[in-house]
């Protein structure tokens, strides 16, 4: 294990995870909203916002899939030491972290079952750019319409067509965070 794995976590877990959760709750209940989510200093290539989401949500009961360049020893060691989450393949994952291209095809991830739609994966998508522009969003949490720079539109339209099944998505860029639950209707730019 690399020594870096032991640094960059929460200094005051109860308070920092409470504030981190409220940031995640805000972006998933108001799709298109972008908030600052500081507090974690994970090793590259994991972004601070993705690190925060991991510290708030992951533990020994949440299988995690690391995709592409995120599947490196620095990130594996950090997540294992900080959260204890087991690392698994895409199909069994409750959470997945990676760039959009590495996570694709996203049809590999759990979408829940008709009886238990909550048993679906949450994707944490690392992006280079996160802005309130691009794809048009409607649905729960949005007063009229919102816009968010999505890496792709077709996959999210296909995901919405599965509702109430489907995966949920968090987008991270540095220490900024946005969300797109499966309930959001995505239209072209």
């Amino acid at each position: 294990m690399t020594p870096d794995a032991m640094t960059g976590g929460f200094a005051d877990a109860p308070i920092q995870s409470a504030k981190g959760f409220r940031a995640i709750l805000e972006v998933l209940s108001r799709p298109g909203t972008i908030v600052a989510a500081p507090g974690a200093q994970p090793p590259a290539p994991l972004s601070p916002a993705a690190g925060l989401a991991a510290l708030v949500l992951f533990d020994g009961t949440t299988p995690v899939h690391l995709a592409g360049r995120h599947d490196c020893s620095a990130v594996r060691d950090w997540l294992t030491f900080q959260t204890g989450a087991p690392l698994v393949g895409a199909g069994e994952a409750m959470f997945a972290i990676g760039d959009w291209s590495a996570l694709s095809p996203v049809t590999r991830f759990a979408i829940g079952t008709p009886e238990y739609p909550d048993r679906a994966a949450t994707l944490i998508v690392e992006t280079d750019r996160l802005a309130a522009e691009g794809a048009l969003l409607r649905g729960p949490g949005i007063a009229r319409t919102a816009r968010l720079s999505l890496p792709e539109i077709a996959a999210f339209r296909a995901n919405r067509a599965l509702f109430p099944l489907g995966f949920d998505t968090l987008f991270t860029c540095g220490d900024r965070l946005a969300g797109l639950p499966r309930s959001t209707i995505v239209e072209g730019a």
């Binding site: 409470a18 959760f21 409220r22 998933l28 949440t62 909550d118 949490g141 949005i142």
Partner: protein, 289 residues
């Protein structure tokens, strides 16, 4: 004085589990997410589900309001407010406008909620179909298949027996055109406020181990029939203390000779109106001299 509890009472592992359930609830509006409800230091029926949801949401910067049937000063509300003052050291308020998190038992405040607020409901029986179909395996399948005919039969039987839909509280709603949901035993007067509010609404059922949510600006329709449309009813009176003709009222028996008065169930709403100079039928006549 040092606090001997973890922040907001629950341990971090438990809060993570509840937080994950809340997020899935937000992603699938109206669907009841199972969660591993914990024993709380209060009996079931006192809001153990709501308390766990509130504990998972609170931050030290929050200002908490707790109401029981609209009142800030009843036993249930006072004890839960004190619980979080002691275990989370959060600021508290009785004013709806000042609160960032409001835990409620069976009412939605009269004052419209705003974007920065979270309303946490205490829910006794989260399954709207439970009294029609006691088996969890069956109700789960009915939700999966969107098979809600039985609920309409129930409302129809109301009309056949009573001439109107007699359900007056815990009136079933359909969320975003998909899940039929129990809004907790709020009076149906409050049902229209569920829909399109800028606030986030979270529901916690402790004994039944379910969490569900209505995100902001979500369409919530009270079930009805074209020829028997939904009606948000209340006692046909004005408040006897603040004179408001539009708020939800409690009936208070005042003697054993048929005397009674009607007062706002929302104590903050009523007190604010009285402070602003509004007077009702039974208000003290201060300018008599």
């Amino acid at each position: 004085m040092s606090n001997h509890y973890n922040f907001a009472y629950l341990d971090e592992q438990t809060k993570r589990m509840i937080r994950r359930a809340i997020l899935k609830g937000v992603a699938v509006p109206g669907y009841q997410v199972p969660f591993a409800s914990r024993e709380m230091p209060m009996p079931y029926g006192w809001g153990t589900g709501g308390v766990q949801v509130t504990a998972a949401c609170l931050t030290p910067e929050d200002r908490l309001k707790v109401i029981d049937q609209g009142a800030d000063d009843t036993t249930n509300a006072v004890s839960i407010r004190k619980f979080f003052q002691r275990t989370a050291e959060v600021a508290v308020t009785e004013h709806t406008a000042e609160a960032t998190v409001i835990q409620t038992r069976h009412r939605i405040p009269e004052r419209p909620l705003t974007a920065g607020q979270i309303l946490v409901y205490q829910v006794p029986i989260p399954e709207p179909l439970r009294f029609l179909e006691p088996r969890e395996t069956e109700t789960r399948r009915m939700h999966a298949l969107e098979d809600y005919g039985l609920m309409h039969v129930k409302l129809y039987e109301d009309i056949a027996r009573n001439g109107a839909i007699a359900t007056s509280y815990a009136y079933p709603v359909k969320v975003e055109g998909r899940y039929v949901m129990d809004p907790s035993p709020i009076p149906k007067f409050d049902n229209p406020k569920l829909s399109g509010t800028p606030a986030l609404q979270l529901f916690g059922a402790g004994r039944e181990q379910r969490i569900y949510a209505i995100p902001p600006f979500t369409e919530v329709i009270s079930l009805d029939f074209e020829d028997y449309p939904f009606e948000a009813t209340k006692a046909p009176h004005a408040c006897d203390l603040c004179g408001d003709g539009g708020s939800y009222l409690d009936e208070v028996i005042t003697d054993d000779a048929g005397g009674r008065m009607f007062v706002c169930s929302d104590t903050d709403h009523c007190a604010s109106r009285q402070a602003a100079g509004h007077r009702g039928r039974l208000s003290p006549q201060e300018d008599a001299a």
